[in-house]
């Protein structure tokens, strides 16, 4: 009898797991159960849908023909119960599905601040395509919006709403944007770009309540008594991995569903990957949460391979992301943070990695030109992290040098003593590395 694989979630982790299973098991029955009706789409692409950069139809990157090509079945449904002993899941419709191997990849959902008014019509988060559609619909009639939160999603919301012609206010609880990942100059660069886009920043602005009339949002009240009119209140204070199924089934969970380095949960036939997984990293001895598209794909690939019996550990690399914040293309690689808390985020955000918040035992070297900026964390023998904002010429070289942990001892002293030469030194070290390959 063919092995029965059930994959909960229809995002990048699930689909890459399904393909990895198929590559090792040509006869297995692979069923993907997702609770969203639309097919597979780019979740990071929702930011560009909000800004009008790409139409909705172009977000669908994996057509049904791709599922058919790999012999994958897809079903829309919400899994409400997991019975690991009985090897069975139950759907909201009452249907039960038996499995031999199960993948949990349901993703994460946005957290909401614990203030009055969060249930009013017009309070939005950006978890999925339905949310983006709702925001665009609301933006057609709203004159003003207030954005609360931090990280990449808060800016996606603020810039999206501003691009839709809504007068947008962005509340910062403390003094600057993304203060545990960016340094003060980087925050300032982003903030000035947001202001140039017409987004009004309010510092030391702590949300006290969302005020409504007739069930609809009308304004926000701040703890210091200020009041701002708002037809939309967009919230991005962090995400919560969707661990409920695993938790109720008795699987070991903390912030996410715990997995070992093979992406296996505390039940040997249940795996987890993507935003829901809190993955053991043997190198650091820590469990880590990431919310990055490429990491979800990599984790799914490892989980799928192991569900089909490969026995391969997850090759955790150094997390990196390239994104646009404040209209500036920005690359984040490795440990670039200061180890402190962020005022605007209560948890990991989307497009975020816990690794970035870590403080590296390193010297910082910076170079600036116009609206471009490079910050480099220089360790004893390797580069430990980098932030590249604006001009991206050094993005790929630094990605390679950091992720491949290239020995930088020959140029370390020059890097530290002559920051203005940073671009040339990095480029020539990268060229040398490529030439040696």
């Amino acid at each position: 009898m063919p092995r029965r694989y059930v994959l909960v979630g229809n995002g990048p982790a699930s689909v890459s797991a399904a393909i990895a299973i198929r590559q090792r098991d040509s006869t297995g029955d692979i069923l993907i159960v997702g609770d969203e009706k639309p097919g597979f789409y780019s979740r990071p692409g929702l930011a560009y849908l909000l800004t009008g950069t790409v139409p909705e139809g172009h977000l669908f990157s994996r057509p049904d023909s791709e599922y058919r090509r790999y012999g994958l079945r897809r079903q829309v449904g919400r899994v409400t119960r997991l019975d690991p002993k009985g090897h069975r899941v139950e759907l909201a419709s009452g249907q039960t599905i038996d499995y031999d191997r199960l993948l949990l990849a349901p993703g994460a959902r946005a957290l909401r601040p614990n203030v009055p008014g969060m249930d009013l019509d017009g309070v939005v988060t950006l978890d999925n395509l339905d949310d983006a559609r709702r925001i665009l619909k609301l933006a057609r009639r709203a004159k003003t919006a207030v954005v609360v939160g931090g990280g990449i999603t808060a800016l996606e919301l603020a810039e999206g709403l501003a691009a839709q012609g809504v007068a947008t206010h962005y509340l910062l609880r403390k003094d600057r944007y993304w203060s545990n990942v960016l340094d003060a100059a980087e925050s300032s660069l982003v903030e000035s770009r947001l202001e140039a886009e017409g987004i009004r920043l309010h510092r030391q602005a702590d949300l006290a309540a969302v005020v409504g009339k007739g069930g609809r949002v009308r304004a926000v009240e701040l703890k210091d008594g200020r009041r701002l009119d708002a037809g939309i209140v967009a919230v991005a204070i962090g995400i919560q991995p969707r661990i409920e199924l695993a938790q109720a089934a008795g699987l070991t969970c903390d912030r996410g569903v715990w997995t070992d380095e093979y992406m296996r949960t505390s039940d040997p036939d249940v795996y987890a990957a993507g935003d829901v997984a809190e993955v053991y990293d043997p190198a650091s001895g820590r469990r880590v949460l990431d919310s990055l598209w490429s990491i979800a794909i990599d984790q799914g690939r490892t989980a799928g391979a192991n569900m089909a019996g490969a026995g391969e550990p997850y090759p955790r690399g150094i997390p990196f992301n390239v994104t646009r914040i404040g209209g500036l293309t920005t690359t984040l690689i490795g440990a670039v943070g200061n180890g402190r808390e962020d005022g605007d985020l209560v948890a990991l955000a989307r497009g975020d990695s816990e690794s970035w918040r870590q403080q590296a035992d390193a010297f910082t070297v910076e170079a600036e030109a116009d609206v471009s900026r490079v910050r480099l964390l220089v360790g004893e023998r390797t580069l430990l992290g980098a932030v590249v904002m604006g001009d991206q010429k050094l993005s790929r070289p630094l990605q390679d040098l950091i992720c491949e942990q290239v020995d930088i001892l020959p140029l370390r002293q020059r890097l530290l003593s002559s920051p203005k030469d940073l671009p040339d030194l990095v480029t020539s070290a990268w060229r040398d590395t490529r030439a040696r390959r």
Binding site: S42, P44, Y48, V54, S61, S294, V322, T329
Partner: protein
């Protein structure tokens, strides 16, 4: 003959579709990009529109030796 073609780094691709949307010839650039395949479509003009529009730096233009003369082949 030296020419150029578009190559992709899949680890940067988030499948947003901006590349395909902006291709003047409607080539499905994304399906190549997410799989790390060069844009091997013979219709590709190498206009660079997809490279310039990608918000993640997934795509880049790389020079390539597409036609090699028989003499050059013989000379190795």
């Amino acid at each position: 003959m030296v020419t150029a073609h578009v190559v992709a780094e899949p680890a940067r691709c988030v499948e947003c579709g901006i590349c395909s949307f902006n291709c003047p010839l409607g080539i499905d650039v994304r399906s190549h990009a997410r799989q790390g395949l060069p844009i091997a479509d013979s219709h590709c003009l190498t206009c660079g529109e997809c490279v310039a529009r990608c918000p993640r730096g997934t795509l880049r233009m790389e020079s390539s030796q597409v036609f090699t003369s028989p003499t050059a082949e013989q000379n190795g």
